[in-house]
Amino acid sequence: MLKMTHLSKVYRTEVVETYALRDFNIDVKEGEFVAVMGPSGSGKTTFLTIAGLLESFTGGEYLLDGADVSGLGDNARSKIRNEKIGFVFQSFNLIPDLNVHDNVEVPLRYRGMKSAERQQRIKESLERVGLASRMKHYPAELSGGQQQRVAIARALAGSPRLLLADEPTGNLDTQMARGVMELLEEIHREGATIVMVTHDPELAARAQRSVHIIDGQAVDIAEEPRFHAQPRRVEVAAEGGAG
């Protein structure tokens, strides 16, 4: 589903080159739930932005759903983001000027979907996250947990092949976080491929597999039944490839 090989991302200034990702390798299979962990500045967010085609990379290869996305132009990347990728951000990233219904509708409009189908999908996705009754509410009128559920509904409405979650519970209290995680697990059980960046080992343990990023390189920690926090196998992705 998502395969990066010898991928690198370099930020250049006049005087210095900084490698955010160096010889980075990862292979996420279809239907997997992978947690990506790592200390601050390790390159987690850079990985996620490149995986989500929000940013370009400097070298290496990236196959998304089997297709090489290296040389794609901006329009093609936008189309892939719209059709194949769903995003869930730490700070929810709802558009404050739009109500819940209109927020969920945003990616569907960019897809050029007909109104009747849009309405059907909005209804279904909001029902799925339990917020169908809040369609006319604005983000500011919802709790953090509810806002994140709307963001998940927005990500799901387009039926993406890959769901990328960046610290999805980072701004939520424990109870709300639990609810959001349960929702992600439910989505995964239904067959979605999820890549979740988190710094929380407990959340990572609920994924099928964890990948640590250290100094811009991926280290595959575990490929085990869920709910195991302890790593069983460690491979440096750059040397041996991800698992």
Binding site: T49, N82, N93, P96, D102, R154, D166
Partner: protein
């Protein structure tokens, strides 16, 4: 098109939206009316008077001594004879007034002696048998005055001459069926006057707004005005000899009799100079209105640029989110262009009503003409284009916001 969500978003930014729409509305209302006034003034500047302007000049003559009306009349006849004999001069006449000089003599015209409401209005010129030829007027019906019909007349004398030459505009106004020749009318007098000739066109002496409906309604009495306080000599040069004629005329008059005053600065004016002076205020008004229009359009354009730039800065993260969710650069560009079109659309809709309202108010208060709706239409197009032009740069900037902005936490 994503009009509904744009409208929904604009509802969250009411103050900025309403202010810019109001600015557009006011600009449209003012610009439409200003353009209308400019067009009127500019058209006015080039309206033909009906006289041979290229070869005409006027001499403002004051007497340096006290003489009787008879003596002055005799002197004026001698002056005219002198002028007509000059090599570069084709003909000359004396009159109370001439087109575009400003002010002048105006008569209410009635069809019966006891009529209370005037039928129309006409500018009055005094002229002798040389008047038509000197001014280059085209006689299209009837005849010129005979010498025996021309008599001296005091400005205080209220005796209507028995015969008159009128312009076609006046003839058609009085007798729309075209039968004016030989018919009569009353000019603020109980005695009728009979139309013996019709000239194609002769503009009245005033250029004020009130006189515009009657701009070409003029009549010529066969009279020599009592010139004791001074007179206007109108002189027609031979083709191509205007400058020589102007020089010769002044020298000739002084040689004929030195007891006169001809202002060295503007005592002798070509008709081009007369026209320039007559429309000085029109030209000034047109320039002023043009400057006001330009300033208003610049301010409105700057307002749109400012507000859109502010919104782009304010919504940078939001733009990043949209891009992350699949919006192309073109989608973002179109978003801001559509948003501007909606605001400008509301502004021009209100502005069109204001523009017509302002025109109606000016018609009532300032005797303005009714403005054609084409001005409003043109204004609407200009404002919409201005809006799109002004929004383009900030919208382009917005479209270049990277989708990675969506991941920024601040």
């Amino acid at each position: 098109m994503q009009i509904q969500p744009i409208l929904a978003a604009l509802r969250q930014h009411k103050a900025g939206t309403v202010l810019i729409a109001l600015q557009i509305a006011l600009t449209l209302a003012i610009v439409c009316n200003a353009l209308f006034i400019i067009h009127q003034r500019v058209t006015h500047l080039s309206e033909p008077t009906g006289i041979d302007e290229a070869n005409l000049f006027v001499i403002g003559n004051q007497w340096a001594d006290q003489s009787s009306a008879q003596q002055v009349d005799a002197q004026m006849q001698a002056d005219l004879a002198t002028l007509r004999q000059l090599p570069a001069v084709r003909d000359a006449t004396a009159s109370n007034s001439y087109p575009l000089v400003g002010g002048g003599w105006d008569d209410f015209i009635t069809m019966t002696p006891d009529q209370v409401q005037k039928t129309t209005d006409a500018s009055v010129y005094f002229g002798d048998t040389h008047f038509l030829d000197t001014l280059g007027l085209k006689l299209i019906a009837g005849r010129n005055f005979r010498p025996d019909e021309v008599a001296p007349m005091s400005p205080h004398e209220v005796v209507t001459p028995p015969v008159v030459i009128v312009t076609r505009a006046l003839a058609d106004k009085l007798y729309p069926d075209g039968s004016a020749l030989g018919k009569s009318f009353y000019a603020m007098s109980a005695t009728p006057t009979t139309i013996i000739g019709i000239v194609a066109r002769l503009q009245r002496s005033e250029v004020d707004t009130w006189s515009r409906p009657y701009a070409y309604q003029a009549l010529i009495w066969p009279r020599r005005l009592d010139g004791t306080v001074g007179t206007n000599y109108i002189v027609r040069a031979k083709p191509g000899q205007l400058e020589a004629a102007m020089r010769e005329a002044k020298q000739g008059l002084i040689a004929q009799n030195r007891m006169r005053i001809i202002d060295p600065k503007d005592g002798v004016l070509s008709f081009a100079q007369v026209r320039h002076r007559a429309y000085d205020s029109d030209r000034g008004t047109a320039i002023l209105m043009g400057i006001i229009c330009a300033v208003l359009l610049v301010i409105t354009g700057a307002g749109i640029i400012g507000l859109t730039s502010f919104w782009v800065g304010q919504r940078r993260k939001q733009i990043g989110i949209r891009r992350a969710l699949g919006a192309t650069q073109r989608d973002i560009l179109h978003y801001f262009q559509t948003e501007n079109l909606l605001i400008a659309g509301a502004g021009v809709a209100l502005g069109a009503i204001l523009a017509v309202g302002l025109n109606l108010w000016m018609m009532k208060q300032l005797a303005m003409d009714r403005m054609s709706l084409l001005y409003v239409l043109a204004g609407v197009v200009v404002l919409l284009l201005l809006g799109q032009g002004a929004v383009f740069a900030p919208a382009l900037r917005a479209s270049r916001v990277s989708p990675v902005e969506a991941t920024r936490t601040v």
